[in-house]
């Protein structure tokens, strides 16, 4: 009898440990830019303007290029929900309209993987992308939003599903 109790307890402890980190930051949506980009902090509002191409250049005059995951991916949905505050169809319509009218010239790029997003940001000086905070590596710079870095409980960009 005793061995079975120990096995169950061990399993429960392992499960608890695997779940615990996700409660702090693993659910954060990190905003990443090229390392050469001088910006360190951005407000959520400024972030929305960059994403909507309302602001087309950074402070160093580099052109802003937004890179997103392909439709159906959690990061893309989180970005649409938290930053664009649009549905997928609204999003497509906004940029189709913008392209058609010529108001929007930099349509967001779509990449199939989080690594691809990171590598894109790494390669493009004016790029800005989004990724799970846990997937971010040192090749890119993670911006603080509203003065909070991912992992901070007050960080505003958290995945909707927790």
């Amino acid at each position: 009898m005793k061995p079975r109790i120990w096995i169950v307890a061990f399993f429960i402890a392992g499960l608890a440990l695997s779940i615990a980190p996700r409660a702090h930051g693993q659910g954060a949506l990190a905003v990443i830019v090229n390392k050469n980009n001088p910006i360190e902090n951005v407000t959520l509002d400024e972030l929305r303007k960059y994403c909507l191409q309302e602001r087309k250049h950074w402070a160093d005059n580099k052109r802003v290029t937004v890179v997103l995951r392909e439709p159906g991916q959690a990061e893309r949905e989180a970005v649409l929900q938290l930053i664009y505050q649009m549905s997928e169809s609204d999003f497509n319509r906004y940029f189709l309209q913008g392209e058609f009218t010529g108001e929007v010239q930099g349509v967001p790029k779509h990449l199939s993987s989080a690594t691809g997003v990171s590598r894109f940001v790494f390669n493009v000086p004016g790029a800005i992308g989004f990724a799970r905070a846990s997937d971010v590596d040192s090749s890119v710079k993670v911006l603080r939003v509203n003065g909070y870095a991912p992992g901070d409980p007050r960080y505003p960009l958290q995945f909707p599903n927790g």
Partner: protein, 755 residues
């Protein structure tokens, strides 16, 4: 000395060996370092070439993937290609860093620096290009690439080629350098190993030499020990003398010999103890020894410490050092004083004996002559009285006187002959003598005596008339007479005596006289030829002088022969004389190809008759001359076997030519010549001397005495005929009738004769 040299050599060898080993260790590490450097250089060269190759490949890869990225519009692919390009670029950068760490880059820093600069420039263009591409502006990206990317990459590629070439040059240079360094190190190492090998060989040789030296030293030590022992214990005096002629070492025997101690002699010279009379000889000895001309043994005198003089033999040799240079003299001295004294005494005794013997011979000779004169009167008047009809008693007394006188005369004659032989004054005329004639004459002479003793003389066998011996005819007859007389005198009553002649070998003839007497005991035979030793016969009535056999032996010896005896007691004795055989004078005539008579016959056929007188006692010679002149019908030959008869014939017949022998039984030939020259009637007759004596003195003497010419025996027939012809021609010219000769003819004859 040799050992010291070896030790020095060994020390030098050890020092050189230590240095060589140190150098070998150094060169070994140097070679190892060179090998390591060479290996590293090769490794770096390969690594460098690998890096450069990889650089080129990765640069191309980065370029290729970048172009792939440009060729697609898919952002995902673009990102992937960009990443691949960056990965390749990272490798390029890594390789560049590695390349920079290579030692080869030292001299080619410019190329890598430019490469790095161009690479950085290219990367900047690349970043810009990727950014433009990913930003969705392919045209701008292509434009950037065409405008700056391609040139930058070409520059980069050119840099890589340059770098590669530079690297190759540097690598080749460095490889050559390290290879040369390695070769030098290896050569030094080989040289060092060679030197070590040589040193090893020298060490081995040195060890062997040391061993030999040690063995030689031991042998030398043993030899020196032996020499010391021999030197000290030698029974003769020995000394080692320096080149300054001072004693260095003397042995006990020498000290004892000269009476000085070793300490007293050391430092002195041999001259200090040499007799003054021998100092000159001794002074010359050292130099003579050095030059090798010194006599092996020198007899000299030394003066002992007490003043006594000793005689000694001194031998010596020069002792040389290893280089052959003279070092010492070794002198050996043996005391021969006693021997010398004995030799002096012996010599003195010998001289005294010889003097006494000569005096005896001289005395005997003189006495013999002195005795003959009164004896002549005794015998002469004795014979006269015997013819004056003495009474019977007187006859008996006269007989005693004559017998005693004749005995004394025989004794004197024999003593005189022995004396002459011993004094070397006996003159013999050796010529071919017919053995048969000699034996026959002997038998004829002894026959009356044998009859008186009732001894039978065996008749002679048929002797070979051609057998001749080389002897003095008169002396041979004397010898045979003596032997036969003894055989008769000492024979038994009714005994017999026989003579024989046998050939012994090819060139000897034995004349034997056998008797049937009592024989001679073997123990007496050695005394048989001793003068005056009659072996006991003096106790008998048999008369004798005891000199006959002694005289026979000496005469035979003078004629080059020998006499011997074989006797058996109770049976008799055999005495034989062995003489050299010689050719008969007649043989020369017989072997002549053309008889001389045939040549002369015609010449003298009509010549006037001539008379030739030949005074000669040798019948063989007479026969020879008779046969030579047989075919000369105009020459009448007269012969005389005695000098007096010859003189009578010369006076009576005044022959045209006289042939004269010098050895005549009654008168010497020179006496006959003298009398012929003194006589007015015979002075003019030419005399040709024919003699066996060929000495120049004799020839001169006879020629001076008046001889026309002198022919030597054996007579050369042709020469004789030529001389005869010359003389008879001169006679025909009438020179001798008036008692004068042609001087020219005389000289010609003398010259022909001497030839």
């Amino acid at each position: 000395m040799k050992a010291v040299r070896l030790n020095r050599f060994s020390g030098a060898m050890i020092a050189i060996a230590v240095l060589a080993i140190g150098a070998a260790v150094f060169f070994f590490f140097d070679l190892s370092r060179s090998q390591h450097a060479s290996r590293n250089t090769y490794a770096e060269a390969i690594r460098g070439l690998d890096i450069i190759g990889d650089l080129q490949f990765q640069a191309q890869e980065a370029r290729r993937t970048l172009l792939y990225a440009l060729a697609t519009t898919d952002s995902n692919l673009q990102v992937q290609y960009a990443d691949q390009s960056r990965a390749a670029e990272a490798l390029v950068s890594q390789r560049l860093a590695e390349y920079g760490s290579l030692a080869f880059g030292e001299r080619g820093r410019a190329a890598p620096k430019k490469l790095a600069r161009d690479w950085t420039a290219y990367l900047a263009v690349r970043d810009e290009l990727i950014a433009a591409m990913l930003e969705g502006d392919p045209k701008a990206a292509v434009a950037i690439d065409l405008e700056r990317g391609v040139p930058a990459f070409n520059a980069l590629r050119a840099d890589l080629e340059t770098t590669k070439d530079q690297f190759k040059l540097n690598a080749e240079r460095l490889l050559k350098e390290v290879d040369a360094s390695f070769q030098r190190s290896r050569l030094r190492m080989l040289l060092m190993f060679g030197m070590l090998a040589v040193l090893g060989a020298l060490a081995a040789v040195n060890a062997r030499l040391r061993k030999k030296s040690a063995e030689a030293g031991a042998a030398r030590e043993a030899s020196e020990q032996n020499f010391r022992q021999i030197f000290e214990e030698a029974p003769i005096g020995m000394a080692v003398v320096g080149l300054d002629e001072r004693f260095i070492q003397v042995n006990a025997a020498l000290c004892e010999m000269v009476g000085y101690s070793a300490e007293e002699l050391t430092g002195r010279t041999p001259l200090d103890i040499t007799h003054p009379d021998d100092i000159a000889l001794s002074k010359a000895l050292p130099q003579a020894m050095l030059s090798g001309s010194a006599p092996s043994i020198v007899e000299k005198r030394y003066i002992r410490k007490n003043g006594d003089v000793i005689w000694a033999t001194r031998t010596g040799c020069v002792i040389h050092d290893q280089t052959g240079a003279p070092r010492h003299f070794l002198i050996m001295v043996e005391d021969i004083t006693e021997r010398k004294n004995n030799a002096v005494a012996l010599q003195k005794a010998k001289e005294e004996a010889e003097t006494a013997n000569n005096a005896k011979s001289e005395f005997l000779s003189r006495m013999s002559h002195e005795l003959r004169t009164p004896l002549n009167a005794i015998l002469g008047f004795g014979q006269l009285i015997e013819r004056q009809n003495p009474t019977e008693a007187q006859q008996t007394r006269i007989k005693y006187i004559l017998n005693a006188g004749r005995h004394l005369l025989d004794l004197i004659n024999e003593v005189l002959d022995i004396s002459r032989i011993e004094m070397g004054r006996m003159q013999l005329s050796l010529e071919p003598v017919c053995v048969a004639h000699a034996l026959r004459e002997t038998l004829d002479l002894i026959r009356p005596v044998a009859a008186n003793h009732s001894v039978e003389l065996c008749p002679l066998d048929d002797f070979d008339e051609t057998v001749h011996v080389l002897a003095d005819r008169q002396r041979l007859r004397q010898i045979l007479l003596n032997l036969v007389t003894n055989a008769v005198k000492y024979n038994r009553l009714g005994g017999s005596v026989s003579l024989s002649c046998t050939l012994s070998g090819q060139d000897k003839v034995q004349l034997a006289v056998s008797d049937t007497g009592p024989g001679i005991a073997a123990d007496k035979l050695p005394r048989l030829f001793t003068p005056f030793d009659r072996l006991g016969a003096e106790q008998t009535d048999i008369q004798g002088t005891g000199l006959g056999l002694a005289l026979c032996q000496r005469l035979v010896k003078e004629m080059g022969g020998s006499v011997a005896v074989n006797s058996t007691v109770g049976e008799g004795s055999i005495f034989w004389v062995e003489l050299s055989r010689t050719a008969s004078p007649l043989e020369a005539l017989a072997t002549r190809k053309t008889p001389p008579a045939m040549e002369w016959k015609e010449e003298f056929t009509h010549a006037s008759p001539r008379t030739v007188l030949y005074i000669e006692d040798n019948l063989s010679n007479v026969t020879l001359i008779e046969q030579i002149l047989e075919t000369k019908p105009h020459i009448e030959l007269m012969t005389a076997i005695q000098g007096t008869v010859g003189l009578d014939l010369a006076r009576q017949h005044l022959p045209d030519l006289i042939l004269l022998d010098l050895h005549l039984p009654d008168l010497p030939g020179w006496e006959v010549l003298r009398q012929l020259q003194e006589n007015e009637a015979t002075r003019h007759i030419p005399v040709v001397v024919i003699s066996a004596d060929a000495t120049a003195r004799q020839i001169e003497r006879l020629m001076a005495a008046g001889a026309r010419t002198y022919l030597t025996k054996p007579v050369d027939v042709e020469n004789f005929c030529r001389v005869l012809d010359e003389v008879t021609r001169s006679v025909a010219g009438g020179t001798h009738h008036n008692g004068r000769e042609s001087g020219e003819s005389s000289e010609k004859l003398a010259a022909a004769t001497v030839d």
